[in-house]
Symmetry: C2
């Protein structure tokens, strides 16, 4: 049997911290003289008291986690924290149902950014800030998980990054604290820089803070029904910059802050990512210039295209315009880049550049092997040997991703959604992107009117996608629970 | 350097036989007093004379093919034969352009079944019969390739079937002749049985023969713009039966004709295929009964659904009704089963049941390995050990299939097609299914009005899909040509 106490204890402690964060929206609502602040304080008290009690009750002396406990911790966190995040949205404005509140909270903590709220403009400022805080916390959480846990758990080929210096199995826990601290400082720094530049580009302090939280987590929540539509201009460039920063490996940025820019500069994953962003933007700009009547200045087309491509590629999911008006081809390109996603070890989601690099190497090797079956090929990526284990694991991940995506589309269609909605809903959920398109989607992109079953399926999809599928599926093995 | 002579010689010989087959449509048109018979005879003369000359010029004493020559033979056949198939459609009715004629011929020889002809009802009977002959020949060709060449070439895990008794590398050629002969007899037998039962169900002799040729090759061409819409009733059951037979392993049927029914009965691939067909039909029938107002008798709903599910699942692509009227869910299910396809070693196309079975085993093993990294797992399928090589090769195939499918969608969108057309066009091409849906598709399902670039992209997609991608991609290696 697995000793659940250390897992429960850690989840309770992290829940306690998330509960404390409700102080900020409470203060904001209080200052705005919005009675919602009372509900925020109530939620904070409930969460902090409950989680303090559970943390005390589950204290243990375990200094490290077994592999089974690591799996339970990550899978458990993203099941329990959404409950905490949902509470203020049920007790206070917008008084969501449990389904909607859990969806919204999961969408926040997985940095997906699809909303279940029919109207955002009218929400108390604290409630909107709480949504942004959920995304920011989720983004931080996922970076730590991606750097500390996934490599040890060998999820989807992440063991390739073990030597990036993070761990050996027994030492996960102490190192985790240290890494989490370093990451938090970097993440905080980026967020503050982003907020300052948003203010400089003309946003109010509140809007700048809120959007900095959801930009640097590649989350994509906004406090406006028009999403980024009210900030057309320099703010789009600022957001583009920080969305890219948030979706490249955090390790590289930490090295850079220490003065060592070489690893960042030489990182093939980062280079490939930037190159592919450039190509996508170039193709869409060219298409728009040639085929779609443009009333705007070419430079504005470039800005608008860059922002909206990066927002999908990085999995952030803001919108500053209706991209459907760009024509068919841009839509197909955006759909595809959403299934690529950013780099590993960042807040970015989806399959990620690294895995495509491995897949291409694997396919090339496989084709070579067909011709000369007796030769041995060693696969390399950025000068490092790709162990067979990594390649196999990446291919299994990709297969699982495609099949889960397919099942999710079928499942959503089973609830009665239009095929277009089912397709983009599954896409946005499993790759944690944000936007959905289809006849059932309301004017502000909300999925409030979806059938309940569809909401739960999307919640499941976001959960599986964010935890890279395998770290959840492993819990389904009966043998797992025998320890 | 690779010795191209034996390859050219074989292609010329097979081309000669295909040319001779033009005699049948010539006779049909002559009897129907349609002047098109002259064009058929002209085409036959051109093809047979030219290919006889080439075959004579390229005679060599090579008794077996190297692996490189095997790859060139399969890839070359499906490039050259479509030229031969296109000739009568350019010289005679319907006087297609080279693009359309090559598309139509490729669609025939790859057993895809999408048509580039705007109106089929008016075509001379010989021209329509020629289209059916192309599919029948293509189906026979692909069965031989799947049984003789793919296992040796280790394409997409097909080496799993090597022990089914077909080959060792040096012996490919003599065995190939023998296997081809056995297969041809079986295939002929099935086709005649199908034609007889079509006649019994009320079709004219001509219609029965033509549809038997395109049913038993899972091809899907019809001589009517309404496709199978004119044969509602018992003929749908007959077609359903023979489409299933055409998409299960031919080896099993040969064993059965020799009195040994056990291998067919015990084949897990066949069992899984039949089970999945049953589930798909059950889900769609239930959905239609519950959610879509049905004016027809429940039994008719079952018949119509069974026929249209099997036609997509097996990759045949007939239509006896507008399946879009069944509602959203059935469409999504049909789309998915098209990406599964029939069994290996048949005329069926797409990814195929066997590969999904391997993928599921691989994923299960991978998840287990995450939890207990030091244990060794041996994968098994139908009691036989799945070599690592096979698993890896299947995963590489699936990855390649998904990525090529994605690129094809983007490519088709680039030509200006609506996303729905791009999606279903890529789907129908790479999985060799037949139907396309979208605003650019004409009333009879023809892609005549597609942009030229889209037609060529779909031609490429059909070619790659039919040859299981890898056997073409291997030619792109510079090392391949160095021998
Ligand atoms: K997002
Ligand atoms: K077909």
């Amino acid at each position: 049997m697995i000793d659940l106490r250390p897992v429960i204890n850690l989840i309770a402690r992290i829940g306690f911290v998330l509960g404390l964060m409700m102080a900020l929206p409470a203060v904001i609502d209080y200052q705005a003289r919005d009675p919602n602040w009372v509900r925020m304080v109530q939620s904070m008290l409930i969460v902090t008291v409950l989680s303090a009690l559970i943390a005390t009750a589950s204290r243990s002396r375990a200094g490290s986690l077994t592999i089974e406990q690591s799996f339970l911790l990550t899978s458990g966190l993203w099941l329990v924290l959404p409950l905490i995040g949902a509470l203020p949205l049920m007790l206070g404005a917008p008084k969501l149902s449990f389904t909607d509140a859990y969806f919204e909270s999961m969408s926040g903590l997985t940095t997906t950014g699809t909303t279940a709220i029919p109207k955002l403009d009218d929400l108390p400022p604290g409630a909107n800030m709480w949504r942004a805080i959920l995304q920011w916390s989720g983004g931080l959480g996922i970076v730590v998980v991606a750097m500390v846990f996934l490599p040890v758990m060998k999820v989807g080929g992440m063991q390739f990054f073990r030597s990036e210096g993070f761990d050996t199995l027994g030492k996960v826990l102490p190192r985790a604290g240290q890494i989490a601290a370093e990451m938090t400082w970097l993440y905080l720094g980026i967020t503050i820089a982003c907020a300052v530049m948003f203010i400089a580009s003309g946003m109010s302090f509140y809007d700048a803070l809120l959007h900095a939280l959801t930009t640097c987590s590649t989350g994509g929540f906004s406090n406006y029904d028009a999403s980024f539509g009210g900030f057309i201009g320099p703010a789009e460039w600022v957001a583009s910059l920080f969305m890219v920063l948030a979706s490249i490996p955090f390790v590289r940025m930490i090295q850079a802050t220490r003065g060592d820019f070489v690893p960042l500069w030489r990182d093939t994953q980062v280079r490939t990512y930037l190159r592919w962003i450039f190509y996508s933007v170039a193709v869409i700009v060219a298409y728009r210039m040639l085929y779609i009547h443009q009333t705007m200045h070419p430079w504005d087309t470039v800005r608008e295209t860059t922002f909206n491509v990066i927002t999908i590629f990085s999995g952030t999911g803001f919108a500053s315009t209706n991209v459907l008006e760009w024509g068919h081809l841009p839509f197909v390109v955006l759909f595809c880049v959403g299934l690529i996603g950013g780099c590993t070890g960042s807040t970015g989601c989806s399959v990620k550049i690294f895995r495509y690099q491995v897949l291409f190497e694997a396919i090339r090797a496989q084709i070579r092997r067909m011709q000369s079956p007796h030769r041995l090929y060693s696969l390399r990526l950025s000068g490092k040997r790709l162990e067979h284990d990594v390649v196999y694991s990446v291919m299994a991940f990709f297969t699982m991703f495609v099949l889960t995506f397919g099942l999710l589309i079928v499942g959503l269609a089973l609830t009665g959604l239009h095929p277009k909605t089912a397709l983009t809903g599954a896409w946005t959920a499993i790759a944690n992107i944000g936007p959905v398109w289809g006849p059932e989607v309301s004017y502000n992109g909300s999925i409030a009117s979806f059938p309940t079953a569809a909401k739960w399926l999307m919640t499941l999809g976001m959960y599986l996608g964010r935890l890279e599928l395998m770290s959840v599926f492993v819990l389904l093995l009966p043998r797992f629970w025998r320890g």
